[in-house]
């Protein structure tokens, strides 16, 4: 669990998130669901499906595999809802589960490669090609270039964390870095590298938000 516990006075917004983070909003929705408000599962699905989608895709799942992984993850959560002891653990559980499904599928696919002479794919085609990149603004194209210049772990870490909120950053980073073997990149170092690259690119202007 996170070592950044703070005493925070939580005043939820309309969607229950924002200041308290996704993990807290998810815990509340899941708690309500278990208390009999069954429609709160729909809220949870709405709230977290984008994060799970990008977690699955960032882990290398193709489009259909990512859909399947996300759907299976939700089905499993509901199936074992009664056995979850701590609602605060739901977000972390969802992230771990969707990744495990993606990786286990990838392992099965690799094991089915019969032609031993075929080159091993070091990164499956996740379908982000020129057509998808054409959807980006000019500024986003610059960002895309430099994100692409980060190592894959940084790319993945930043992608997933980007779809969460500030209070979630620490716990999500821990989840993605498990199992802990070597000292991996932290989101801070990844962001620092990215900022350095952006700052030396004349096409990139720091936007100051009000």
């Amino acid at each position: 669990m996170t070592d950044e516990e703070e005493d925070v006075v939580v005043s939820p917004d309309d969607d229950g998130s924002s200041r308290s983070g996704l993990a807290d909003a998810a815990a509340r929705a899941f708690d309500d669901y278990r208390s009999g408000e069954t429609q709160r599962m729909s809220d949870l699905v709405e709230m977290l499906t984008p994060l799970l989608w990008h977690t699955a895709r960032g882990a290398g799942a193709g489009h259909q595999d990512a859909r399947d992984a996300v759907q299976t993850t939700w089905l499993r959560l509901v199936d074992k809802a009664d056995t979850v002891r701590d609602p605060q653990a739901v977000l972390g559980w969802l992230l771990t589960t969707v990744r495990r499904i993606v990786y286990s599928r990838a392992r099965r696919d690799r094991e089915q490669v019969v032609d031993l002479g075929a080159p091993e794919h070091d990164r499956p085609d996740t379908g982000v090609g020129p057509e998808q990149r054409a959807e980006l603004s000019e500024r986003q194209q610059v960002l895309w270039e430099h994100v692409g210049g980060l190592d894959e772990r940084c790319q993945y870490l930043l992608r997933v964390v980007a779809f969460a909120q500030r209070p979630d950053y620490a716990s999500i980073s821990e989840r993605l870095e498990m199992p802990v073997g070597s000292i991996g990149p932290t989101r801070g170092r990844c962001l620092e590298k990215l900022r350095q690259m952006l700052e030396t690119d004349s096409r990139w202007e720091r936007q100051l938000h009000a």
């Binding site: 069954t38 429609q39 599962m41 729909s42 699905v45 709405e46 499906t49 984008p50 989608w53 990008h54 895709r57 489009h63 859909r67 996300v70 759907q71 939700w74 089905l75 509901v78 199936d79 996740t126 379908g127 982000v128 998808q132 990149r133 959807e135 980006l136 603004s137 500024r139 986003q140 960002l143 895309w144 994100v147 930043l158 992608r159 964390v161 980007a162 779809f163 500030r166 950053y169 620490a170 980073s173 932290t186 989101r187 801070g188 170092r189 962001l191 990215l194 900022r195 952006l198 720091r206 936007q207 938000h209």
Partner: protein, 159 residues
């Protein structure tokens, strides 16, 4: 305290990263609904299991399905493009059923066409609706989501 201090500039950058990924690899718009239908089907099956195993049914017969007095719950899901309609048919007695329905379009108007008559019900904001005292006959549903969408018609089923 560790070295990962996130400042406001980092937060803004992460927001831009999210927007970038959202533009280049968006969540499929129907994924949430697909998930909800799947969850509903799973949930309804769970209710079926509970119904068959109630003590009252156990007293009546060894196999509830052989007992005409037993409650048997059927679940049927219809799908049409972006809309799914899941119904659970609960046999209240020999002659009538209760229909528990869920449609992936909150507020949709649902019609049950049965025996030459039409029963209307409005699904709530979550897409749920209930119809009670429905005669056990052949029937079909029409769902309407407003003028911008064509109505959806299901095949005929035997209640």
């Amino acid at each position: 305290m560790h070295d990962d201090i996130i400042d406001i500039g980092d937060e803004q950058l992460l927001d831009e990263i999210a927007a970038m990924w959202d533009a280049v690899d968006p969540v499929p718009p129907d994924l949430g609904d697909d998930v909800r239908v799947a969850l509903t089907v799973q949930a309804l099956e769970a209710e079926i299991a509970e119904l068959v195993s109630t003590p009252t049914l156990a007293l009546r017969a060894d196999d509830p399905l052989d007992d005409p007095d037993a409650n048997v719950v059927d679940t049927i899901t219809f799908s049409s493009g972006a809309v799914s309609l899941a119904i659970s048919i609960d046999g209240a007695d020999d002659e009538t059923v209760t229909i528990d329905g869920w449609i992936t379009a909150g507020g949709a108007s649902v019609e049950l066409h049965i025996g030459g008559t039409v029963r209307h019900v409005q699904a709530d904001e979550f897409g749920r609706f209930v119809m009670t005292d429905v005669p056990r006959r052949r029937a079909w549903f029409v769902a309407r989501r407003g003028d911008d969408h064509p109505p959806i018609v299901t095949p005929v089923i035997e209640l």
